[in-house]
Amino acid sequence: MIRVGVFVCWCGSNIAGTVDVGKVAEEAARIPGVVHVEQNKYTCSDPGQDSIRKAIKEHRLDRVVVAACSPRMHENTFRKCAASAGLNPYLVEMANIREHCSWVHSDMSVSTPKAVDIVRRAVAKVKRCVPLHPSTIPVEKRALVIGGGIAGIQAALDIAEAGYDVTVVEREPTIGGRMAQLDKTFPTLDCSSCILTPKMVDAASHPGIRILTYAEVEEISGYVGNFEVRVRKRARSVDEARCTACGICILKCPTSRDSEFNMGLGTRKAIYMPFPQAVPNKPTIDREICRHFTAGKCGICQKVCPSGAVDFSQEDQVLTEKFGAVVAATGATQFSVEVYGEYGYGRYPDVITGLELERLISSTGPTDGKIRRPSDGKIPKTVVFIKCVGSRDENKGYPYCSKACCMYTAKHAILLKEKIPSASAYVFYMDVRAGGKDYEEFYKRSQEMGTRYVRGRVSRIYPLDGKLIVQGEDTLLGERVEVEADLVVLAAAMVPQPDAPEMARKLGISYNQYGFFSEAHPKLRPVETNTAGVFLAGTCQGPKDIPETVAQASAAAAKVISLFAKSELSTNPNVASVDESLCSGCLWCSNVCPYKAIEEKIITERAGKETVTRTVASVNTGLCQGCGACTVACRDGAMNLLGFTNEQILAEVEALCL
Amino acid sequence: MKALLIPGLARIESVRDETAAGDVKTFTVQFLDEKDRFDYMPGQCAMLSVIGVGECMISITSSPTRDRMQFSVKKSGRVTSALHELEAGHTVGVRGPYGNGFAVNEWRNKRLLFIAGGIGLAPLRSAINYCLDNREDYGPIQIIYGARSPGDLCFKDEIFKNWPGFPETQVQVTVDKGDESWNGPQGFVPSFLKEIAPSPDNAVAVTCGPPIMIKFVLQALSELGFGDEQVVTTLELKMQCGVGKCGRCNIGHKYVCVDGPVFTLSQLRALPAEY
């Protein structure tokens, strides 16, 4: 006989505060099949779990219902707990009486009967649970890191250091990412390149790391341990093996355009390296502007190249390779500040973004590290910084806090004072957020150096006699403020890459309403995604500064390493399953399978006195991710989803409607 | 007028596992309401209900000479599986008695040969105990019983201890395949029967078991010289009402539920070969 134990959790007062737990327990005891009910203050705690283990043994329980929080929170906890008491972990079902009940209803007279219904549903389902056993799949111990910024570099180095091969795919001609564009980093003000470029070189020279630059991931199929990835390595038009990076080609190239690396503040050639320390240190021909490709003329670079490395005939290479894990480190980009018409970005050349200022400050930048304003190259005397441009603004930008801007603005103010001691700096801000080691001190330092922080929004900027008049309000003093500025710097928010949703689809992961990739759990699984084997590092997941990015990259690497430490993986046993006796073999199920996990199978069976063969559907449990779309496509009722069977769902419906 | 298809409620007094595999259980039941209780004869059946699941026809394995009604049930379908989930103290539905039962009165003073395989001993057990309880009315009793393995033998207390203790009563047991604990005969029931070669003189042979066994036992019996009138067997078909109304369990014009389940071989031969 089925013996269900129901464990009703108080969750301190989280549940017991608004649900009559005693009454729930009392009603649970009346449900057919329930032989044991108990209440616990905190069922997830050690004593709580112990009591489950004890009850399983004492009351010979063969099914367990935990009426507590969301299964997304603790289902695994209780499955492990049951397993440790010798019960198949898939004979556990949770009744979510916290998130779906006690936390959303305050009236006990409605929340208690609802909790009882929820428990009844769980009992109805668990009675139809059968023991499930994970199967195992092999793991391809090679990692793919998408994105060669600091997150990708760090993750690649850590994984490679653990002895596993890593491929880094970067769509720019060089790795380095955003960090390479920065001058100094807060709060220590050490030189960004000085700490980044050694890592770039380390990565490039590491025997376990292969870097594919100027390359993009086109398609990812397969599943954890066994991803198949198609990468398009775009034609560089330069034979990397022959090129000696002498730079003559770049020098002689007659065509140029705005430099992306310098945020459009300088130019680069058609054959170019984004910056001198680029890795790989090989030029790339931008076929969009190269006259050889646009007009069929020129070819100077080829003529001047001493090593014959320029190769116009190079074609894109498409590589298809297997990987066991993927780290998405695709980074973020800068908010398009043009939408703030009042700031005049785009109309007034001396209104720039933070990243542009970085390039102006940087010694490798277009001004060789001298802060000169773009309009006339003059050294600015008064600089206004405006924070929260595109962040914390539901009207024109995004509601979230971009997190790094407070600190980089403080950094900019400090650097300004260092470079131009006579300059004065104004920072218009909403709040200063300086949580983080040494951050508050750093912010203070910028104040101590004379930066004037004005709490308030800037309402308008307009040019007057070579100056920019910045009008705003000091909300602390309640007065209008007007600053005659030479340069205005907008602290633009970090926003997701425009193609992040497309990348998410390739990766089979979800993303939030802004386009940042979603982690599996905001607190407990911050670097994992809902697709097993795909991990997140850096700003693709949300705005971050460098230390946080690097930490997350290492965390993602650790996840990959622990995945690779196993020679095989056990798979989620909640997969589709075919009742061959019912299957008519129409294979409509395979049409709707997103993982191509359903194949045709020929079976032989006795039909009366004859032996006949017929076609049935067959599920590859390694590929099946358990979505269940096939079950609805199956009219025969032959396709079922283990753990979410038709029987179970119908029983749940019935239990809820009693 | 008594409602035809409404079971009386009965309490399960005890549940006994018969086989090592746990696929056969014997349920002893007691009606909750005395007015639902009914008298029956060996070989008769009753509809057993697991209320909320369904009903199935089960032969009554106890003898009317004993006071508690018993059913031995092999787990095979939905209802019997649900029945196997029940324990002492639980409630089942019982209605009956149905079927003709064994012609125990016609067997008086005859030599009785019972041949059973596996759970097929259940209906015969009722007759065997009935005859043993009226021992003086019957001639020598010979019981030949077999199962797939020693663990599959039912009613072990009776076949090994109780029955052999009666006068002129012989129990011979075989298993298809023995194990280390088994030192008795091995082999299938029909060949075991042929080895023993009981005499057909003034005898009635009663057999029950899996269809394939019955088929070969019937052959063996006629080889041993048993006439069709001397051979009795029981049949099993899907039943829904038990009272000859639902139109399901017919073989030709005979309904197993009311005209059977006990048939002589000569009666069977007169029916279409549908079963």
Binding site: C101, G508, S510 | -
Partner: protein, 140 residues
């Protein structure tokens, strides 16, 4: 119908978005009427329209089907099939005489706790105004 009659709404939600959205409503303590009872399925593509009929048969006054926004499916395409299935199934139920307001289909993401709250509030209000469902309903 008594004044404090509370409709019974059976909610089928996908595990990744809508169930999580309901969780978020919980963690954010967004209160809503205690009318809905959720059945968690992996994906809206797992929800058989027949389940909806069964819910009405057994006594549901309303049914909510919820999944990830199209494009955001954890399994990439499950909700696309769900959308097709329910586009026609919902019309068909209406054709059979079911009041369309009793079956609602929404895309609720994991971050839309508030949307979940609003959906339940609005649905409950509408169904409350209509009274208990009697169509297709079994009387025991």
């Amino acid at each position: 119908m008594s004044l404090d009659w509370q409709p019974k709404i059976v909610g089928f939600t996908c595990n990744w978005c809508s169930y999580a959205g309901a969780d978020l409503a919980g963690t954010s303590r967004m209160s809503y009427p205690a009318s809905v009872r959720i059945i968690r399925v992996p994906c809206s593509g797992r929800i058989n329209p027949v389940f909806v009929i069964r819910a009405f048969q057994r006594g549901a006054d309303g049914v909510l089907v919820a999944g990830c926004h199209p494009g955001d499916c954890h399994y990439s395409t499950g909700n696309m099939y769900a959308r097709r299935r329910f586009l026609i199934a919902r019309r068909f139920m209406e054709y059979l005489g079911m009041d369309p307001a009793r079956l609602e289909i929404h895309w609720i993401s994991a971050s839309e706790g508030q949307k979940f709250q609003e959906v339940i509030k609005n649905m409950t209000d509408r169904i409350h105004a209509m009274g208990p469902n009697r169509k297709m309903r079994e009387i025991l």
